[in-house]
């Protein structure tokens, strides 16, 4: 047992670190570090820089531009891209629809969709949640009825993240209304320019426009856009969600955020010293750091086990990573609000990137409270932490 990286793994990490720090524009990395909103162009710029280096879709099959990496190398990539405050390859494209098409799609679909999916020439949105189907996703109602060479789609999707930027959406739709819940669902690719689709913004408590509602009214989708078999969509969705395991805890990101909290605490005046001199604050920060270290080792254990473990064996690890990882992400954002102190309050008018014009207190303090508000989402999305506890209790503890 040796928890340290081998010299080869260190060299791999250092090369990635050098690449991220020198090739990704500093301004974009600064936005990520400060938790500010990225423009559509920022994502595309980064994705293309990664693509030119062969890093746009490392988890895909090699023939479609993936990397033949070990689990440890994949883990290092995810950690390092987060720790360097580089926007990760867009999850909807790279972790979600890409692997589904590569695994279950037809040859024609692979040829048509995978190359532009890797480069963000197609920006994908995720069409899973509905107003009546959140944690209970399988109760979704959006329907697709077959008419000749087309499906006709009706219904509503919601919480569609960055849908305002998207070109296409991958949807779970009900294709057999008579079948029981999980059966009768299919996986359909829909061009968002198709007539009958309306996208409406949802403004979240941080004042940001990140999520949307998507309405489908008699939308005509070519039958060739069905992925895999009819009524097997639930299996593909489960496959897609299981790909989320590594990186779900976002340990690299939280590490970077805690380091920033520390730095800013040392710079922020408080009475005769700085915030850093407050032992109560330091204790809270120390707890976050300590818990993060434990979670980092937990994540490494999961990565190491991937080499040997059967994929279908019940494994509570992704749920543990989700629960603790989301809690720590939230703690980091709250600690920054504490550092900002009274200057967490001002909320002047914003430009389109969400930056205050001009700042009232220190510039970084403007984003502190909105980020804290926004990050309440991380224990809700991706299977709420309560759902994760259900999974642990049922699938692993046998309760």
């Amino acid at each position: 047992m040796d928890l340290r990286y081998t010299p080869e793994e260190i060299a791999f990490r250092d090369e990635l670190r050098r690449f991220f720090r020198t090739e990704i524009p500093a301004e974009i990395r600064r936005k990520v570090s400060e938790g500010r909103k990225l423009a559509r162009e920022d994502y595309i710029t980064c994705q293309r820089i990664l693509h030119a280096k062969g890093l746009s879709a490392p988890n895909w099959p090699v023939e479609w531009g993936g990397q033949d990496w070990s689990p440890v190398q994949r883990y290092i990539f995810t950690e390092e891209i987060q720790a360097c405050a580089v926007p990760q390859p867009l999850s909807f494209n790279i972790n979600m629809v890409g692997p589904v098409i590569a695994t279950f799609g037809s040859e024609a679909q692979k040829k048509r969709f995978l190359p532009p999916t890797a480069t963000l020439d197609i920006w994908w949105a995720q069409g899973f949640s509905e107003p009546g189907a959140g944690s209970d996703l399988a109760s979704l109602k959006t329907s697709a009825r077959r008419e000749g060479d087309h499906f006709i789609v009706n219904g509503q999707k919601t919480w569609t993240t960055l849908g305002q930027y998207a070109d296409w959406i991958f949807c779970l739709v009900r294709t057999d209304p008579a079948a029981k819940k999980q059966q009768g669902i299919s996986f359909l690719l829909i061009d968002l320019k198709t007539p009958g689709i309306t996208i409406r913004p949802i403004i979240t408590i941080d004042g940001g426009h990140e999520v949307n509602e998507v309405f489908f009214d008699e939308v005509k989708v070519p039958a060739e856009n069905l992925v895999g078999e009819l009524n097997k969509g639930w299996d593909y969705a489960k496959f897609l969600l299981s790909n989320e395991r590594i990186g779900i805890a976002r340990i690299g990101l939280t590490k970077e955020r805690l380091a920033r909290v520390k730095r800013l605490a040392q710079e922020t005046p408080a009475g005769e010293g700085t915030v850093w001199d407050d032992p109560d604050f330091r204790r809270r920060l120390a707890w976050s750091e300590i818990e993060l270290k434990a979670l980092e080792i937990t994540q490494m254990r999961v990565v190491a086990a991937q080499r040997t473990k059967a994929a279908d064996k019940p494994d509570p690890s992704s749920s543990i990573l989700k629960i603790k990882g989301s809690e720590l992400q939230q703690q980091a954002t709250q600690l920054l609000v504490e550092v900002a102190g009274p200057y967490a309050l001002p909320r002047p008018d914003r430009d389109e990137e969400g930056l205050n014009l001009p700042s009232v207190g220190p510039e970084w303090a403007d984003a502190a409270a909105p980020l804290f508000f926004n990050f309440r989402k991380v224990s809700i999305y991706g299977g709420s932490n309560e759902i994760q506890r259900n999974i642990i209790a049922k699938a692993f503890l046998g309760l």
Binding site: M1, A294, V303, K324
Partner: protein, 374 residues
Amino acid sequence: MDFDLTDEQRLLAESVNRFVSDRYGDFEKRKACRAEPAGYSAANWRAMAEMGLLGLPLSEEQGGFNGGPVETMLVMEAIGRGLVVEPFLATVVLGLGLLRRTETDPDLLARVAAGELTLAFAHQERQARHDLHDVATAARRNGGAWLLDGAKGVVLNGDSAGMLLVSARISGSRRDREGIGLFLLDPAGQGVTRRGYATQDGLRAAEVVLESARANLLAENALPLIELVADEAIAALCAEAVGAMDALRQMTVDYLKTRQQFGRPIGDFQVLQHRAADMLVASEQARSMTMYAAMMVQETDAAARSTALSAAKALVSRLADGLGKEAVQLHGGIGMTEEYRAGHYFKRLAMLGVLFGDVDHHLRRVVAAGGLPE
């Protein structure tokens, strides 16, 4: 990065786990062990010697196993799972940890490995609380010998140990880091008074009073060594906690499946399911932090090592405390009874929390260091 055990380590874990389930699977057997004069089973101790456990950290030339922190972790986890009462921590982790680095007489080490000689580390003093450098016990030279005066408290297995390792001040004032010596003392000799007692978690300890007690000097300026061995003990205690947490969590989940109320197993209730799930999260986090402790205890930079071990002790203690209390609560009344095993895990986990520094003490050290080492 590699989490695999070597073949030797796997065999070690298997044999220790088998030993623990044979000798401690039936909870009545633990009571019988505790009823023996030393507070543990002489037969079990012999068996542990035969398995090579009592020479675990000794080099092969010293007749040992050449075991490091991972081997200690595997043994201590099994000890935690079984609520084992034999003095492995006192004799092997603490005693041999100090003695093998200072004693030149190979015969003494061999006797420990053979199970003929047990050890205890008499270091704690009442005023020191958790500060390892706070030593008032005085050592003075008298001709060729050293004489010790002072009082040591809560010496783990100090009542039955064949030899005591004692810290005493050779020079300087009570809280100086310099001038603390390490001595080997025969407790049967003149000037040594021992008052043995049971501890709350079913083990044994002693108060030791030294009045011009003769001792042999093992090391001058021994504080760095004492700090290293205390860190090794912390890594070991973390592993013991993980074993106990794992076993207690499994017991609790089994209980939720079998205990019927309102016409169904209480594990059907979601409020209890979620608490059981949180117990799993806690025990897995504790396991990860224990691995971190086993790795970092080998760190050559003593400051980084100490900070890391403090972080491990703080988190594992906090998680162990939470899990132990939850387990008693989820068991209900049966968890309160002396005859049932769950309450004994809870008590051991609670007492582990105060050994070698409590949560506040270790958190303060992490804070003082400015956070975890890189």
